[in-house]
């Protein structure tokens, strides 16, 4: 009896380790791959612009912080994070623009104070969605914010709506709508794919309510758009613009994605705003 109980205790001790199996997914095999063995996957070496392009916002933050910490060439590395095709920046045949002085002031302040952008810092976005309102093409602008939960998770949600002009001009108040209690949180990387999860959600729910968590964000413009979505007057088609805003100490950085075949491409600074120092 005693030896049986000892065996059982040993058995019990082993049970929790059974959860450690399959840490790595098994190798995939499939018939199609074997049947189509004649199809070669053609590959080429990466071109220089592919390596230089800033592909993700987290990549931008890494490059910014690395530039700040660099012993040499910090100013050049910071300068490379701006859109070099911006006509406001110095270049051949370009006239001096106050924005260029602002960029210099920013680079100097970063260099002097060595401040970095936290990975989980303030991040917001303004996106433009091509819509049809009463069958007429228009643009709906949405402001979104990335928030973080206490258990280190992140999500995007709508904080402000800029309604198409035709809706705002209507004098009638939006009819009070029934908003469902559905609560949806957009994934933390939704910004990297032009907020497609939001576009799909707006189509599926015909409502912004699941993605608007703050009740104070539901102002008149929000209600007018929500009403138009619910009654089918407005349908969403595609995300046509996507701007990301990051805060670096007293500066707000506007990032736009520049898709072009040169090293200065991807997520780059397209504008700067100096915020009031406390």
């Amino acid at each position: 009896m005693a030896s049986t109980i000892t065996r059982l205790w040993v058995f019990t001790l082993l049970i929790p380790f059974s959860g450690l199996r399959a840490q790595v997914a098994p190798t995939r095999t499939d018939a199609t791959r074997q049947a189509a063995g004649s199809t070669d996957l053609k590959r080429r070496a990466a071109e220089s612009f592919m390596n230089g392009q800033i592909k993700h916002v987290s990549d931008f933050i890494d490059r910014f912080n690395n530039a700040v910490k660099a012993e040499n060439g910090s100013e050049n590395a910071l300068g490379a994070l701006f859109n070099e095709d911006d006509p406001r920046l110095p270049g051949s045949g370009r006239q001096h623009h106050p924005y260029a002085s602002q960029v210099d002031a920013f680079v100097q302040s970063v260099w002097a104070a060595k401040f970095i952008i936290p990975k989980r810092g303030t991040m917001s976005a303004v996106i433009g969605i091509k819509v049809r309102c009463d069958s007429t093409p228009d643009t709906l602008k949405l402001h979104l914010r990335k928030d973080y939960t206490t258990d280190s998770a992140a999500y995007w949600h709508i904080v402000r709506v800029i309604a198409p002009a035709r809706l705002l001009e209507e004098k009638e108040n939006a009819r009070k709508m029934q908003t469902s209690g559905t609560h949806a949180e957009l994934p933390p990387n939704a910004n990297e794919v032009s907020f497609l999860p939001l576009l799909r959600g707006l189509n599926d729910y015909q409502s912004m309510a699941p993605f608007t968590h703050c009740m104070e964000c539901r102002d008149t413009a929000w209600e007018k758009v929500e009403s138009a979505l619910q009654n089918g007057r407005m349908t969403t088609e595609a995300v046509v613009s996507n701007k990301i805003y990051l805060v670096a100490r007293y500066w707000e950085l506007e990032l736009c994605e520049f898709i072009r075949e040169k090293e200065n491409s991807g997520w780059l600074i397209s504008d700067l705003v100096e915020k009031t120092k406390p």
Binding site: R33, A36, K42, A46, D151, A154, E185, A238
Partner: protein, 201 residues
């Protein structure tokens, strides 16, 4: 007596599994990144198979199913499981969004006699970030060159584009409890940006 001891042991041995979703350490998340790159390779192979007109329709349709199986199945809507979307932005300013299955079917039915797809050794996966659903999320990016030709091999259409794919690593706890593998990568929405037409087209 032994029966009660067995019941007691089995009941208490399961308690350790009821804790909340585990936090992933950096080493584990790096494993997820490697696994994602393997999945990107799988997707690239399936896309090549879908576009390969020398293969039978059945083989190409099977490649469509395999490609779609890499993508997450979303919530039920009207009795259907929805798959993610692909948004294609063309240089002429047109933007279209279609479900992934339709995107792959369209690729299967392109009117060219021969299609050649080339990939570049430039695929990257961003760091994984935890979402409120308990899953971890990243973005995979790769570049692809597409050439559509006639029977004589003349180039009729060519472009090089960049694809960004939303990636979800399903929570380990869910899969461990279900007795399945605990690293599970699914693809989500894709954006395709038409970067440059190939010279000669």
């Amino acid at each position: 007596m032994m029966k009660y001891i067995y019941i007691f042991l089995l009941l208490f041995s399961g308690i350790g599994r009821l804790h909340a979703q585990p936090e992933m350490d950096q080493k584990r998340l790096a494993e997820f990144q490697k696994l994602t790159q393997q999945r990107v390779n799988d997707l690239q192979l399936y896309i090549s198979l879908i576009a390969d007109k020398s293969l039978s329709i059945e083989q190409r349709e099977q490649a469509v199913e395999l490609a779609v199986s890499l993508f997450e199945k979303d919530y039920m809507v009207n009795g259907k499981r929805r798959t993610p979307y692909v948004q294609v932005s063309r240089r002429n300013g047109t933007i279209s969004s279609v479900p992934v299955r339709i995107y792959f079917k369209n690729l299967m039915n392109v009117k060219f006699d021969k299609v050649e797809i080339t990939y570049y050794d430039a695929a990257v996966v961003s760091e994984f970030e935890k979402g409120t659903d308990g899953n971890y999320h990243a973005t995979a990016t790769y570049y692809q060159q597409f050439k559509g030709m006639d029977k004589k091999g003349n180039l009729l259409y060519g472009s090089r584009d960049r694809k960004d794919i939303r990636v979800t690593a399903q929570s380990a706890a869910v899969y461990a409890q279900a007795g399945k593998e605990d690293l599970k990568i699914f693809f989500g929405d894709i954006t395709v940006r038409d970067t440059v037409p190939i010279p000669g087209f």
